[in-house]
């Protein structure tokens, strides 16, 4: 094959190369951190100072501004891990398992917060912190899947092998996501049906939707920031591990 016919990597492949990734994300971290802080300031201002009480729930509606973003991220982060799992198994992409490993603890934290804020919202509105209904139980299962994936990553020294096993588990665990999403339609439940992501659009007034979207943006930016920092850390950790092994081998050869 002549040099002219060698297929050049496309811009996406170049951008996703670990070394290139470290280079371009270096310029992204601080602007993203600034945007996240601004989004939280605006979101919290809306949530506490510029939004009305709900006609039924009163001020408890303000819990929704932290509950819904965390619930959204609990599933969106799993979506990122699902894509990463495909990247590992189908394309053997060098950053795919790094993305999966970086995202799992973040997803676990957002899911924990979704359950925690949901329980606090449920007590005054439903009269109970917890009910074993479809939405809450499937979200608890999602948390257990996240914890299982974190444990799997820690169980293997060989991170390439761990990446392949985790990718399979991630794909199997993705069956739980539609169950979470449609549980409120499939079963009788205390949880209200979807009111933001519906085919007809959001079912709430602009005065409540605006703070909600502002907080969702803030939390999503926070996830993007933490994901990039954790991916950078994981790449550098693997580099350090490789150098340590190399040093040990050289030391042993002497």
């Amino acid at each position: 094959m002549s040099v002219d016919t060698v297929k050049q990597p496309n811009w996406f492949s170049r951008l996703a190369h670990p070394g290139q990734f470290l280079n371009w994300t270096r310029h992204v971290v601080w602007p993203l951190a600034g945007a996240t802080v601004v989004a939280f300031v605006v979101g919290l201002w809306f949530a506490f100072l510029n939004s009305p009480e709900d006609y039924q729930m009163g001020d408890m509606v303000r819990v929704m501004y932290v509950h819904v973003p965390n619930a959204w991220l609990s599933q969106a982060v799993y979506g990122v891990m699902f894509c990463a799992a495909l990247g590992t198994l189908v394309w053997r992409h060098p950053l795919a398992d790094v993305a999966n490993k970086a995202a799992a603890p973040l997803g676990a934290v957002f899911t924990t917060l979704a359950l925690y804020t949901g329980a606090l919202w449920g007590r005054p509105t439903w009269g109970t912190f917890w009910e074993w209904d479809g939405r809450m139980t499937s979200t608890l299962v999602l948390l257990l899947i996240y914890l299982g994936i974190i444990a799997l990553w820690r169980a293997f020294d060989d991170q390439l092998k761990a990446g392949r096993i985790v990718a399979i588990v991630t794909l199997v665990g993705a069956l739980n996501i539609p169950i979470i999403k449609f549980s409120v339609d499939w079963w009788n439940t205390l949880h209200q049906p979807a009111s933001v992501f519906t085919a007809e659009g959001p079912r709430m007034p602009a005065s409540i939707l605006t703070p909600l979207l502002a907080m969702m943006l803030a939390f999503t930016l926070l996830f993007a920031l933490l994901q990039i920092v954790r991916m950078r850390t994981e790449i550098l950790r693997r580099r350090a591990d490789s150098l340590s092994r190399q040093a040990a081998l050289q030391g042993g050869a002497k």
């Binding site: 100072l49 965390n70 603890p105 934290v109 917060l113 919202w121 933490l226 350090a240």
Partner: protein, 57 residues
Amino acid sequence: MIGDGMHVEFIAWAYAGVALLIFGLIGYVVWEARRVKERLAALDKAGIRRRSAETNS
């Protein structure tokens, strides 16, 4: 604007819990990043570095 009506303690606990866990998560991510950078710096100081870094320097 938020009032001083019923259930304020539930709202306070919700936001406090979220703040605690989010700040804890940010702290952990920053600590982890620093620890790895310090490890790489220690390896570099010991003369153990990537071949590409050696050719570039």
